[in-house]
């Protein structure tokens, strides 16, 4: 069984590569039992969205307009 520390590493790596079958199974089982890691996993998805938004502001700038001026 993987512990939380290993699970967070795995969740992080999932942002760079596709996990193997056993990794996915282990991850799913752990997340089903562990609320903290479940939150962490959601946060990693959110973090990526935040970073994409940050980058998108660079290209688009429109969203940023209201952000800068409200």
């Amino acid at each position: 069984m993987r512990n939380c520390r290993e699970i967070t590493q795995l969740v992080s790596e999932a942002q760079e590569r596709e996990l193997g079958l056993s990794e996915r199974m282990g991850l799913r089982m752990h997340l089903a039992m562990c609320r903290a890691c479940r939150n962490f996993s959601q946060q990693m998805e959110t973090l990526r969205k935040i970073c994409r938004s940050y980058a998108r502001r660079d290209v688009d700038g429109r969203d940023d307009e209201s952000l800068e001026n409200d």
Partner: protein, 220 residues
């Protein structure tokens, strides 16, 4: 509409339906604003490239490129972010072109860089009670709150150099693992460990200073 036609726009004001080009020109004529922008870009470029001279060149090119297409800007915010977009592309090109030749001697590997995750996990690798990630309420509204971006940038600033550099390459410039490993001369496992730590720090910082901070106020 016509309020910017006199030339210099009021600081911090911009109008989506107004005279964006004039607005942008006004910003570019503001030396204080320009210097602040250049400093930010410079910091970003140095962090990415690990080379002050190269970074200066990239920033210079980005500024010149931006000046050429100044008419397409839409207000101060767009100007700034557009410049970063140009800069990002230049940095990505440079990193790809240099490949393994990128030198990493300028990257400071402080003790902090190698701070272990022991503070967060106990001996069995489980979260310490105080460190357990909480549920983040309404991240969508954070994205539309300019105060959130101040917190986000402050959290980024707190990342140790190598973590910040690799994280930005991955998340902002959107390079893939092989590209980052080649450009920064790190192994895949080194990259994975570093990104993991960067994300751990960043999420902790965002949680403490944004997602939980609000709750604490409400509870108080």
């Amino acid at each position: 509409m016509g309020e910017y036609s006199g030339g210099k726009a009021a600081p911090g004001r911009s109008d989506r339906g107004g005279e964006p080009a004039v607005d942008a020109v006004a910003h570019l004529q503001d030396p204080v604003y320009l210097e602040g922008l250049r400093t930010q870009m410079q910091r970003f470029a140095v962090m990415q490239l690990g080379d002050r001279g190269l970074a200066e060149d990239a920033v210079q090119e980005a500024l010149l490129g931006a000046l050429k297409s100044v008419r397409s800007f839409n207000g101060r915010a767009a100007l700034k972010t557009w410049m970063f977009a140009i800069l990002k592309n230049k940095i990505a090109d440079l990193l790809r072109a240099r490949g393994r030749q990128v030198e990493v001697q300028s990257l400071l590997r402080t003790d902090e860089e190698h701070r272990d995750l022991d503070e967060l996990f106990n001996d069995r690798g489980h979260w310490r009670r105080d460190e357990r990630p909480a549920h983040w309420a309404d991240p969508e509204s954070a994205i539309h709150d300019r105060h959130f971006w101040q917190v986000f940038e402050a959290c980024l600033d707190r990342l140790p150099g190598q973590q910040a550099r690799l994280f930005m390459m991955r998340e902002f410039i959107e390079l893939e693992t092989p590209e980052i490993c080649a450009a920064a001369d790190v192994t895949v496992s080194n990259l994975n460990v570093t990104l993991h730590r960067a994300r751990m720090r960043l999420r902790e910082c965002l949680e403490n200073n944004w997602f939980q901070a609000g709750e604490a106020v409400e509870e108080a």
